[in-house]
Symmetry: C2
Subunit: 97 residues, 2 copies
């Protein structure tokens, strides 16, 4: 669980996606894709973004809802609390690699 969280955060593109969803929730795959290209100047394919979103969803950092042929993505920052409670406030370690 913590493994997937930190793995998801390891990639700079995925962090950009989190930034995007933080400032504007409920975006579809194509919205995120075009915004990353235009606003952030990143050149990546739709599938690349799709795979990034899958990793973020596996880490529970992004929640999705389907409506018709659209799939909307929302940021879910709560798992980040674990990082704070692990080292910023001393607490027993909990990792299972």
């Amino acid at each position: 669980m913590a493994d997937e969280l930190f793995r998801a955060l390891a990639d700079p593109t995925r962090r950009r996606i989190l930034d995007e969803l933080a400032e504007r929730g409920g975006q579809s795959l194509f919205e995120i894709c075009t915004r990353l290209v235009t606003k952030h100047g990143l050149g990546l394919s739709r599938q690349a973004v799709s795979q990034h979103l899958a990793v973020l969803e596996a880490a529970d950092l992004v929640r999705t809802r389907r409506e018709g042929r659209y799939k909307f993505h929302d940021l879910h920052a709560q798992p980040l609390e674990h990082i704070v409670t692990r080292w910023l406030r001393p607490s027993p370690p909990e990792d299972t690699p």
Copy 2:
């Protein structure tokens, strides 16, 4: 800067090292090495740990001080605050189903 921070946190062994230094600061390379092997049951060489510490030091998550032929390592959790201020602060906490 943020790049090195998240890259450092991506590896489970490095997280273990942070846990170790959190519960007992000022350890040398060999101390960390033996503790990881005995307490956590990890099998890694001295050089592996040394390289991990270098990554953690580059991310400013570990501060070191030399004394004679010893090099002591201490946890420096302050960079983790950036994670909180990046996604946790801007958006208030959500529901937890």
